[in-house]
């Protein structure tokens, strides 16, 4: 079973993303900040991470992505950033730290499902 890590400080979004991905049999892990996300990723080696950008706490989504992409253990895991920050340079910044894709909130769940299936193929 493919493992997916969902990272968002909003419990509503975490639940929505989890429900969205229930179309397939995935093993879902959840974290509410970047620091926990990094720890879970190292421990569980997920096949995909879906991560919010602005989160309170030590690591935001961009910082966590940078760490994960620089760690040989987790660098190959694709990361989709999910953020309400939708300006061009926000998106550029996301790709600059190594994200594989960037969805702006509110995102289309159908597009997310399509992208996730494409990335896990």
């Amino acid at each position: 079973m493919k493992k997916i890590l969902i990272v968002d400080d909003s419990v509503a979004i975490r639940e929505l993303v989890e429900t969205t991905l229930s179309t397939e049999d995935y093993q879902i892990f959840k974290a509410d900040n970047g620091k926990k996300a990094v720890a879970i990723a190292e421990e569980e080696n997920p096949d995909l991470i879906i991560m919010d950008v602005s989160m309170p706490g030590e690591l935001n989504g961009l910082q966590a992505t940078k760490i994960l992409k620089n760690n040989p253990k987790t660098s190959s895991c694709p990361i989709i950033l999910l953020s309400a920050m939708a300006r061009d340079n926000d998106i550029e910044e996301g790709f600059a730290v190594g994200a594989n894709d960037y969805f702006t909130k509110p995102f289309s769940p159908l597009e997310l499902i399509k992208k996730v299936e494409e990335m896990l193929k």
Partner: protein, 279 residues
């Protein structure tokens, strides 16, 4: 001095209140923003959900049409040797559905009958040609074989999950039973005969009498109705026959309609369905 000190303390306290108020305000503002974002996200979910449902509905509709079309073509294939137009089976379906509707059956059931009734004679595919196409009267032995088309039809249609095919099985098996118990293959009588079988029996006999066959001319409407009326309570369920007679004008309208539009079943079906709806 004392007053001054008191005022300072008072001002400090007020400032504390003001600070806390700002904190509460900011946190409420943040909560509000979070709720608004979640709300926007939920709206997006609602839109995607309705577009998915719409796509599913279209796909479902296409599948359902393809399914009904396939049933129709299989029935034509089975009847092809007998008759190279589909108009007879289309008429049987339309008459039966109309009677069903007049009997107060729900639209869905009537529409199932519309598609299931044409399968009534599908078992004829298993009857040898020399009997099926014999120009003269059948011998007793030949007639016994001919009667088997009911059982053969039911067997061909047996064990289906489809409501339409299941109903087709029931109709194939029971459309030659008679109200007085003298029919075949199981000599069922009265309400032991399934309703759909009793309805199709009337539609089938009416259409046979009104049609020209290699061995007979078509009867006039008057003669046809007279023969049928005499079978009230014998061959036919009296209540259903009464309803049939009461609505004979609509039956004739269907007959002309089918003759005009020819064997395009789907067109006729939509015509019939709109007919059913308008009542």
């Amino acid at each position: 001095m004392e007053t001054n000190n008191f005022e300072t303390q008072y001002a400090d306290q007020l400032k504390k209140y003001a600070d806390d108020l700002v904190k509460v305000y900011k946190s409420e503002q943040q909560k509000r923003k979070d709720l608004e974002n979640t709300n926007l996200q939920l709206i997006k979910y609602g839109r995607d959900l309705s577009s998915s449902i719409l796509k599913l509905k279209t796909a479902n509709q296409e599948l359902s049409e393809a399914y009904l079309d396939t049933i129709h073509r299989l029935v034509i294939a089975a009847e092809y040797k007998d008759e190279d137009t589909a108009s007879h089976i289309v008429r049987i379906g339309s008459y039966s559905a109309m009677i069903a509707k007049k009997l107060g059956m729900p639209d869905k059931k009537a529409i199932n009958i519309l598609y299931a009734a044409p399968m009534h004679d599908i078992g004829k595919i298993g009857i040898p040609d020399n009997i099926l196409f014999k120009p003269g009267k059948l011998t007793d032995e030949e007639f016994e074989i001919m009667k088997k088309h009911t059982v053969i039809g039911a067997k061909i249609l047996s064990n289906s999950k489809s409501a339409i095919i299941k109903l087709g099985e029931e109709i194939a098996l029971t459309h030659h039973e008679r109200w007085d118990g003298k029919g075949y293959p199981n000599q069922l009588s009265g309400k032991h005969i399934p309703l759909a079988g009793r309805v199709v029996a009337i539609a089938d006999v009416f259409d046979a009498l009104m049609s020209k066959r290699p061995y007979k001319e078509a009867s006039t409407l008057e003669v046809t109705l007279d023969i049928m009326q005499k079978e009230r309570g014998k061959h036919f369920d009296p209540d259903i026959l009464d309803i049939f007679m009461k609505n004979i004008d609509e039956i004739l309208k269907i007959r002309t309609g089918v003759e005009k539009t020819g064997p395009q079943y789907s067109e006729d079906a939509s015509l019939e369905i709109s007919l059913l709806r308008s009542q």
